[in-house]
């Protein structure tokens, strides 16, 4: 681990708005601490740009703890950077070398429109969740916690799926810009638990239709999503989605 401060060349995607064509800008950044996160490095760059009277780089961020799913950009061709199982906010500058050239691009997909620079509109994910990514719980007294037995291994699988933070790195990484890993995780967390079963068929059909409507690509099992997911969601979830959709399509009364 180096403690030497870094001088870097950034090639950042700059785009004024959704209608702008966009281009790469080259910026020289000096004296970056290796202890900074990638986003803190961008903060420093933005301060510098602001002092120079230039527009700062717009990028998405929120919790900066790796749990909210807001941040993300493609760094040197890899969503959230090359470090495995990490969001961009948790990627630290110590993983870079002095003199590195770093290309930073927004997540690119038809369903994810660039708002400005690196900030992308991922509301397509919200629409998929609205279509069926929930369970309906009637109002009333709180149910007894252990009234419905759930085997431990099932609960673990559901929790693994529930780790998805909806950042969109799977779409960004997919050569087809498919959202299957996201949809499969959001479906699996409920499909695996008894509370999710009553609406399973309706959910599978509604979520897949919403996904198709949003203009995401089709899964071709390239498994790039699994490799880039900051929460390391497994593609067995995609197989589960395929099964659930089959059961819903051919085995249920839902049309």
């Amino acid at each position: 681990m180096s403690t030497q401060h870094l001088n870097l060349t950034l090639k950042v995607w700059r785009q004024k708005g959704p209608a702008d064509k966009g281009r790469f800008d080259t910026l020289q950044v000096r004296d970056i601490s290796p202890d900074m996160s990638f986003l803190e490095m961008l903060d420093v760059v933005n301060e510098q740009l602001t002092l120079e009277g230039k527009a700062p780089i717009a990028f998405d961020h929120d919790c900066r703890e790796g749990i909210c799913g807001m941040c993300g950009a493609v760094v040197n061709g890899r969503p959230h950077g090359a470090l495995k199982g990490t969001t961009l906010c948790q990627l630290h500058m110590r993983h870079f070398e002095n003199g590195d050239v770093i290309a930073i691009e927004p997540f690119r997909a038809m369903a994810f429109k660039v708002i400005k620079d690196l900030a992308v509109d991922r509301s397509a994910f919200d629409q998929i969740i609205q279509a069926g990514g929930y369970i309906s719980v009637n109002a009333g007294g709180a149910a007894d916690a252990n009234a419905i037995p759930v085997p431990q291994d099932r609960a673990e699988l559901a929790m693994d799926a529930a780790q998805c933070i909806g950042c969109g790195a799977c779409v960004a990484a997919c050569p087809n810009a498919s959202a299957m890993l996201f949809v499969s995780a959001k479906l699996s967390q409920m499909a695996l638990l008894p509370q999710g079963r009553p609406e399973a068929a309706r959910r599978a059909i509604a979520m897949v239709r919403a996904m198709d409507r949003m203009g995401f690509g089709n899964c071709s099992n390239e498994t790039e999503c699994e490799a880039e997911c900051p929460k390391e969601i497994n593609i067995t979830n995609i197989a589960r989605l395929n099964r659930e959709y089959f059961k819903a399509g051919f085995g249920s009364a839902v049309k």
């Binding site: 995607w13 966009g22 790469f24 493609v74 040197n76 061709g77 890899r78 969503p79 090359a82 290309a103 691009e105 690119r108 997909a109 038809m110 369903a111 990484a173 050569p175 087809n176 810009a177 498919s178 299957m180 897949v208 239709r209 996904m211 198709d212 203009g215 995401f216 690509g217 089709n218 899964c219 071709s220 099992n221 390239e222 498994t223 790039e224 999503c225 699994e226 490799a227 880039e228 593609i235 067995t236 995609i238 197989a239 589960r240 989605l241 395929n242 099964r243 959709y245 089959f246 399509g249 051919f250 049309k255």
Partner: protein
């Protein structure tokens, strides 16, 4: 029947069509290879196999029409998926790097697929829709593979086929939902083995015929 159309034309429905037709082609490849191995038995063995196959009559016709239908589904659906996937990312990345998920097979599926389509048409013109009066299929095949150019072309086509099935086989299992933490590693190994069987099994035949010619 609107629900059926809706289900089959959805992204996952199209993938099922690809998987089921693709798996059928894998079974076909296997039986085709088993039949072709009679070439090692010489003229009598191979011609007897061809005669036996053609004596099936209507059954063979049904199988051929079935293969044609499956091929149409596989090609049309595959092209649709390819074009939709291109459209799903209108602005490409300037820097493109793999996270380690892709393989040569997975990254080239549409291209190897189209090459195979061209090859199948060429192959059928060569050996199926050919005038067989006064000659036998063994003679047609051995004459064709006396030409090194044909041998090269067929061996290359079989390498393309092997690359295609190396991703296609395991991918089909994943698509029909048969991914299980216990069995998936075995299925992925099976895909590679099957690709090798296709490449070597079919690929050595033209070379053998060239050498023995």
């Amino acid at each position: 029947m609107n629900w059926l159309a809706d289900t089959l034309t959805s992204s996952i429905g199209k993938k099922w069509l690809m998987a089921l037709t693709g798996l059928s082609f894998c079974v076909f490849l296997f039986t085709h290879l088993a039949g072709n191995l009679t070439l090692y038995g010489g003229r009598a063995a191979f011609n007897a196999y061809a005669e036996q196959l053609h004596s099936l009559g209507a059954l063979l016709l049904v199988a051929e029409l079935g293969l044609l239908l499956f091929a149409l589904i596989h090609v049309v659906t595959g092209l649709t998926l390819f074009l939709q996937n291109l459209k799903a990312r209108p602005v490409r990345y300037q820097v493109n790097k793999s996270g380690g998920g892709r393989t040569i097979g997975s990254a080239t599926m549409p291209y190897t697929g189209l090459l195979l389509l061209l090859f199948v048409v060429f192959h059928l013109i060569n050996f199926s829709f050919v005038d067989k009066t006064g000659t036998t299929i063994y003679d047609i095949v051995t004459q064709a593979f006396a030409d090194p150019l044909y041998v090269l072309l067929y061996v290359a086509a079989m390498i393309v086929a092997a690359i295609h099935v190396s991703h296609g086989l395991w991918s089909a299992f994943q698509t029909i939902g048969a991914n299980h933490l216990k069995y998936m590693p075995a299925i992925r190994i099976l895909s590679i083995l099957f690709a090798l069987v296709v490449a070597c099994g079919f690929g050595f035949l033209p070379i053998y015929l060239l050498i023995s010619a």
